[in-house]
Symmetry: C2
Subunit: 314 residues, 2 copies
DNA sequence: TAAATTTGCGTAATTGATTACGTAATTAAT
DNA sequence: ATTAATTACGTAATCAATTACGCAAATTTA
């Protein structure tokens, strides 16, 4: 199908189904050619019974990887054709044991040749191909068991979005965003304090002019995250005003801002980073940990909401 | 599934289906993750409409390779969700033209990211594998178009059965079979003649002792075909009594016997093979042609049923 | 221009599988 | 010993696709 060359890999599932339907249909004709009165869908059930032992419905279902109702109906159909016999379990009355009938066993003898020929035909076809589909299926079964498609897509999305995130230096045009992003989370959990208004309304005077820095994270050009380095002394910056917009969570923007801030502190020959936060902000504390910050006990903070202090030696 | 390692390639169809179902199911979750209200099965239809042009039901069905009722119901479902609009054809009132609605177009914008991510995820998975399943499917689609599974299996069967055919020299224990096999076809088309009874009842006296040879084809140990070389002169044998049992047709036994006879004639330094037959025996004449015999006009034959004579120069 | 054929598409029935649910038999727990 | 939980498996409902069929519009043919 030419169509699938345009859709891209998105349609892998559909394409697989089409092929499987094609093959199953042709396999049906093969039974006719060998004059064997059996449907392709019976094959797995027939196969597990071909050893001769009797097996219960669920046991068969498990072995062939179908649901038990599916096996139940297949067995009913095979009964009608006289291929199998059923008998209730002697010790466990719920169980329904199935085995091949005399007729089923006779077909089993005749079907051997078909097995060999079909196997050989497919094996030969596989040899004509460059990419072995049998092994390819096996690989995919394994692959998806390791990590399912959703997880893979999620990872891919994060990767892509991370690439679309850009960290830039502060510019007055970001002042509104700088204030808004911080005000959002502060007023959600706490209350805006005087010190907040000072630095958020006048970042130039209170942060930059005092030797500090402000970083803005842009996602598709829009400011979605902020963080500031406030100069404490020649060797130390305070990491503060770390905020990520609600709509931009889960893109790893916190991590990107954090590492960018650390990088910048190093460039300005700082020896230490310090921060104040609150333990109810679990994702934030988590991020600080991942960035390498350790808990310290130190000076009391000007902010009421602070109940934890952390440091990172550069 | 461990099961499929035991069944052999016979279960290729089932195995493909299982994988396709697994992938489709996981793909469904992906739509949820991107918060897009669409079902995986809508994807092909959505995709062909995403260019913006309106298309009729059958046109869509053709492009995506589904049946038109399938497209019809999918469109109905998409209508309910407000993703598409329909309008009857202006020139042709039977046609039902479908196009994306404003809402559909909006989703089309949002879905782009999902395309890229899913594509990338699958592409990466493909890179983790040794056997590229995407290309493997493509190869199989091509392979089955060239020669379908049934034909492949048929060829395989012939090959196998040919291997089970053995050509042996005459032995008195084959006399009954030698007579029976020939009598069967002769009396089916013609009438047994005096000359027939002579050579079939007493092959030793009438064929072997006069410097001729008889070959018997065995299938699984049972005689199923015969042919004789009757000495005409030092340079010539007559190829006669060529017979293949009705139950053993289609296994290429005629060809095997014919080539064996030619081989034997060469070994006995014959220069020419001669035969008599009747044009109503089309498969036989065909076989003689394939073996290299050419029509000649010659002596009248002792057999009434003969209306064609052929020769092969060795 | 009327009749026959083809085309477009909707509805119904079928297929092969699934989940959901109910019932009876077993097994475990109190 | 009674109650609760689990297991076996059948029936019913559902799903995604298909074929079968029918009707009406359009096109071709005579």
């Amino acid at each position: 199908m030419e169509f699938y060359n345009k859709t891209g890999k998105m349609a892998l599932g559909s394409r697989l189904r089409r092929l499987s339907e094609l093959i199953t249909e042709q396999a049906g004709k093969v039974y006719g050619y060998y004059d064997i009165d059996m449907q392709p869908k019976w094959f797995p059930v027939f196969y597990v019974l071909s050893a001769g032992e009797e097996k219960s419905i669920t046991q068969i279902a498990q072995e062939i990887g179908h649901s038990h109702p599916s096996v139940s109906t297949i067995v009913k159909e095979m009964m009608k054709r006289g291929l199998v016999q059923e008998s209730p379990g002697k010790t466990d009355g719920r169980k329904n044991y199935i085995k091949l009938s005399a007729q089923g066993l006779a077909i089993n003898d005749r079907i051997r040749d078909q097995y060999t020929d079909v196997n050989a035909a497919i094996e030969n076809a596989l040899n004509e191909t460059q990419y072995n589909i049998w092994k390819a299926i096996e690989e995919w079964e394994f692959l998806l068991e390791q990590k399912d498609l959703l997880k893979r897509v999620q990872d891919e999305r994060k990767l892509r979005e991370r690439k679309e995130v850009e960290v830039v230096a502060y510019h007055p045009k970001y002042q509104t965003a700088f204030k808004q992003l911080n005000e959002d989370w502060i007023s959600q959990y706490f209350k805006m304090e005087a010190a907040d208004y000072k630095s958020l309304d006048h970042p130039k005077e209170y942060i930059l002019d005092k030797g500090g820095h402000i970083l803005i994270a842009l996602y598709k050009g829009e400011p979605v995250g902020t963080c500031a380095l406030i100069k404490m002394d020649d060797d130390t910056f305070e990491l503060a005003k770390m905020a990520v917009g609600a709509g931009a969570k889960g893109k790893g923007i916190g991590w990107i801002l954090g590492t960018a801030a650390i990088e910048m502190a190093k460039q300005h020959d700082a020896k230490k980073l310090y921060l104040e936060s609150n333990t109810i902000l679990k994702p934030a504390i988590n991020l600080y940990h991942k960035l390498g910050f350790k808990k310290v006990t130190g000076e009391p903070s000007p902010y009421e909401r602070c109940n934890i202090q952390m440091e990172l030696n550069l």
